[in-house]
């Protein structure tokens, strides 16, 4: 049998396993490099030149340029590594996280104050109209 991945049946969720890690190796190592102030400055000064130092796929680079975190995760990114891209932009975690959802940052902050997203209807792929396809545009979900 192949790897047992019961977590694939959870909608809107990408588990960072060895397959994702293999796909996203350079993407994540690029993102992790931004923990150094010097590298953040270089990235901000010339984003394309900085990205070209890393043997990432063009899709991965474009997802970074677009700050499309759902796509970044689908292409092997891990949220802790890739949050450093948002940090470099001066964003906080609520801003980064909300960008992957149907909410803007203010709505997301308010949703959290109101108790967060309920697990009801969000546990299994079949509970989502689009089957929880992570590449579906978030607006079309609900």
């Amino acid at each position: 049998m192949g790897l047992d991945k019961p977590y694939l049946d959870i909608p809107g969720t990408t588990i960072f396993d060895t397959d994702q890690a293999a796909m996203g190796y350079h993407l994540n190592m690029f993102a992790m490099s931004l923990k150094d102030e010097e590298n953040r400055e270089k990235f901000k000064a010339d984003e394309n030149a900085y990205l070209d130092q890393w043997p990432m796929t063009e899709d991965q680079k474009q997802a970074v340029r677009d700050r499309d975190f759902n796509r970044i995760l689908a292409l092997g990114g891990n949220i802790y590594y890739c949050a450093k891209i948002g940090a470099t932009d001066g964003l906080n975690y609520v801003q980064i996280v909300s960008s992957m959802t149907e909410n803007n940052a203010d709505d997301h902050r308010q949703m959290m104050i109101d108790g967060g997203r309920s697990p009801e209807g969000n546990r299994y792929l079949h509970e989502w109209k689009d089957g929880g396809d992570p590449t579906t545009k978030k607006e079309s979900r609900s």
Binding site: I10, T13, A21, M32, A83, N92, V97, H108
Partner: protein
């Protein structure tokens, strides 16, 4: 002889650190959270240990993808706060306890745990936020800290059962350390939260409260929970709660001793994207 006298369980949300660092703890947003931390801080002031074994996970600051240890124990004299992308937190250097760490390493590896031993490695919010939660803003942390890194970021990650067993082995190790030391063990991370994907923002108070109850009353049973349940019910980053079992395994009741005493419990939503929880158990023996 050294002895583990208590265990503390607490979220380690970065924003909680920001609130302390920037003096925002009495703002409307943070006040209910920090009011709930007050009893824990009073307890911490009266029960300052010599050493805390601080169980947490790195968030892409100490380790990259080139070396991913399942369990890594911090052996060195000092551990510097990491720059996680926003600049380093203005908190004291974390001071280690190399002699106790070496003793634990020898004992636990002899006990069939395949530790990775680490030196001169930065510690991120997973380690420094719990210290701020308990000790606020001192010039120096009031105790030594042995960081214990658990991989909960790149799957495969260790099972709940394995984490509980590691805690048991750590208790056996501390029990045989020559010096008189008051040791606490802190399990950190959680509670329910999801930082990624379209499901981000998930919070599950019922599940979190049940987790508290089972953590206190029946950790062996709780340790059988599969990873997929943590993720489905507690959010993808709620998996961090598995680390609480390491601390729980170090209480004497799981090895046949008397039950621990619950000193404090606190739960608040939200801290940033997270349900923040805290639990303090004094060892029964």
């Amino acid at each position: 002889m050294a002895k583990i006298s208590a265990s503390v369980y607490t979220s380690h949300v970065p924003l909680i650190g920001v609130a302390v660092d920037k003096g925002l703890t009495q703002d409307d947003y943070f006040k209910p959270l920090f009011d709930g931390y007050e009893p824990g801080r009073e307890w911490a002031a009266e029960n300052t240990p010599d050493v805390v074994i601080l169980v947490f996970n790195d968030h892409a600051n100490a380790f990259g993808l080139d070396i991913v240890p399942t369990f890594a124990l911090g052996m060195s004299e000092t551990f510097e706060p990491a720059d996680e992308g926003w600049g380093s937190r203005p908190v004291p250097t974390v001071m280690g306890h190399p002699a106790l760490a070496a003793h634990i390493a020898h004992s636990v590896i002899r006990d069939d745990f395949d530790l990775t031993l680490v030196n001169n490695i930065p510690v991120d919010h997973g380690c420094t936020v719990p210290l701020s939660v308990m000790y606020d803003q001192p010039d120096e942390w009031p105790c030594k800290v042995i960081p214990l890194f658990i991989n909960v970021v790149q799957y495969p990650i260790p099972s709940g059962k394995r984490c509980l067993e590691l805690g048991k082995a750590i208790r056996r190790a501390v029990d045989t350390f020559d010096e008189d030391l008051n040791v606490q063990i802190w399990g950190t991370g959680g509670m329910s939260h999801q930082l990624q994907g379209q499901r981000a923002g998930l919070i599950n108070p019922e599940w979190d409260h049940a987790f508290f109850d089972r953590m206190v009353a029946d950790p062996e049973d709780l340790a059988t929970m599969e990873h997929v349940e943590y993720v489905r019910e507690g959010g993808s980053e709620g998996i961090e709660l598995v680390m609480w079992l390491v601390a729980r395994g170090a209480m004497s009741d799981v090895a046949g001793g008397p039950a621990p005493t619950e000193v404090h419990r606190h739960y608040h939503v939200p801290a940033s994207n997270t349900a923040a929880g805290q639990l303090i158990l004094e060892d029964g023996s």
